[in-house]
C-alpha cells in the first residue's frame, strides 16, 4: 500500500474534477429553465428559438465535458 500516494492523488484529483460535471449540470438547467420560462410567456416565438437553445446547452455542456476529460486523463493517462 505504501508508495501509492501518487495514485491516491490521481483518484482525489479525478473526484475533484467530477465537481465540474455538476457545475455544467447547473448551467444546462439554467439555460433550459430560462428558455421554458420565456417560452411559456410567449409560446409563438418559442419555436424559432430552439436552435439557440441547443447552441446554449452545447456551450454549457462542453465545459462539463472538459472536466470529465480531465478526470479521465488523471485516471488513465497520467
Amino acid at each position: 500500500m505504501e508508495g501509492d500516494i501518487a495514485q491516491m492523488g490521481q483518484f482525489i484529483g479525478a473526484g475533484l474534477a467530477a465537481i465540474g460535471s455538476g457545475a455544467a449540470a447547473i448551467g444546462v438547467g439554467h439555460v433550459a429553465g430560462n428558455f421554458l420560462a420565456g417560452a411559456l410567456r410567449n409560446p409563438s416565438a418559442a419555436g424559432a428559438q430552439t436552435a439557440t437553445l441547443f447552441i446554449g446547452i452545447a456551450f454549457a455542456e462542453a465545459l462539463g465535458i472538459f472536466s470529465f476529460l480531465v478526470a479521465l486523463l488523471l485516471m488513465f493517462a497520467v
Partner: protein, 250 residues
C-alpha cells in the same frame, strides 16, 4: 482502475475496455492500412447512409415509401437548419453539412448496438471532422471576404478602448472552437457508453440487479436521445461557424 472486490467472487468493472481499437484479423500491430473494429463500424455507418439516402430515394415515388419519407424528412430538416442559421448563401455548403450530419448520426446510433464499437467516441475520429470544419470555414472566410474576415475579431459595436481586449478574447475563442467542437461529441458519447457499462457491471450483483437493469434501460433511452442531439449540435455549430465566415461583421 476502480476494481471492486464485492461479494459474489470479485466484481470487476472495466467501463473503458469497450473503446480499445483492435485489429479485425488478429495480430497486434496497427498500421494505417490495418482493418480494425473502428474502421469496420465507420464503414458500416457510411453504408447505412448510402442505403438510406440513395436506395431510399431511388424510385422517387409521389407517395413515398417509409425509407423515402425518412430520408426526405432528414434532408428537409438539415436544409432548413442551414438556411435558418447560415442564411441563403450558406446553402452552397449544404452537401458538406448533411454529409457530416448523416455520418455522425448513423455512427452514434449504430454504436448503441450491443457489442458494436462507438467510432465517434474517439477524439481521433471527431478531431478530423472538427478540424476539417475549422480549416474549411476559415478558408471560406478569407476567400469570400478577403482581409475583411478579420473584422470578426474587431467588435465594432463595443467601445473603442475595449476593442483590443475583446479582440484577444475573440481570437482565443476562435482557436478553441475546433477543440471544443470535437471534444464535445467524443466526450458525450464516451461518457454515455461508460455509464451504460458501469450499470451493466452492477447488474452482476444479484442484490441490485433489478435496479441496475432498470437504470440501464433508462440510461439507454437517454443515450439514444444524446446520440441524435450530439449530431444535431455538431451540425448546427458548423452552421454557426459558417455564418461567421460568410458574414463576419458584427
Amino acid at each position: 482502475m476502480a476494481s471492486e472486490a464485492a461479494e459474489g467472487g470479485g466484481l470487476k468493472i472495466a467501463p473503458m475496455d469497450q473503446f480499445i481499437v483492435k485489429p479485425l484479423f488478429g495480430g497486434d500491430t496497427i498500421s494505417w492500412f490495418t482493418l480494425t473494429n473502428a474502421t469496420l463500424w465507420m464503414a458500416i455507418a457510411v453504408l447505412c447512409v448510402i442505403l438510406l439516402m440513395v436506395m431510399g430515394t431511388r424510385n422517387r415515388a409521389m407517395v413515398p415509401t417509409r425509407a423515402q419519407s425518412v430520408s426526405e424528412m432528414i434532408y428537409g430538416f438539415v436544409r432548413k437548419m442551414v438556411e435558418d442559421v447560415a442564411g441563403k448563401d450558406g446553402l452552397v455548403y449544404f452537401p458538406y453539412i448533411i454529409t457530416l450530419f448523416m455520418f455522425i448520426l448513423l455512427a452514434n446510433v449504430l454504436a448503441l448496438i450491443p457489442m458494436s464499437f462507438s467510432a465517434t467516441s474517439h477524439i481521433a475520429v471527431t478531431a478530423v471532422m472538427g478540424f476539417s470544419v475549422f480549416f474549411t470555414v476559415t478558408a471560406i472566410g478569407f476567400i469570400k471576404n478577403g482581409t475583411g474576415f478579420l473584422s470578426l475579431f474587431w467588435v465594432s459595436s463595443a467601445p473603442l478602448a475595449l476593442r483590443p481586449i475583446l479582440a484577444v478574447i475573440e481570437l482565443i475563442s476562435y482557436f478553441v472552437r475546433p477543440v471544443s467542437h470535437s471534444v464535445r461529441l467524443a466526450g458525450a458519447i464516451m461518457a454515455g457508453h461508460a455509464v451504460v457499462k458501469v450499470f451493466a457491471g452492477f447488474a452482476a450483483v444479484a442484490a441490485v440487479a433489478p435496479l441496475a437493469i432498470g437504470g440501464m434501460v433508462a440510461i439507454y433511452a437517454l443515450e439514444l436521445l444524446v446520440a441524435c442531439i450530439q449530431a444535431y449540435v455538431f451540425t448546427i455549430l458548423t452552421c454557426v461557424y459558417l455564418k461567421d465566415a460568410l458574414h463576419p461583421h458584427h
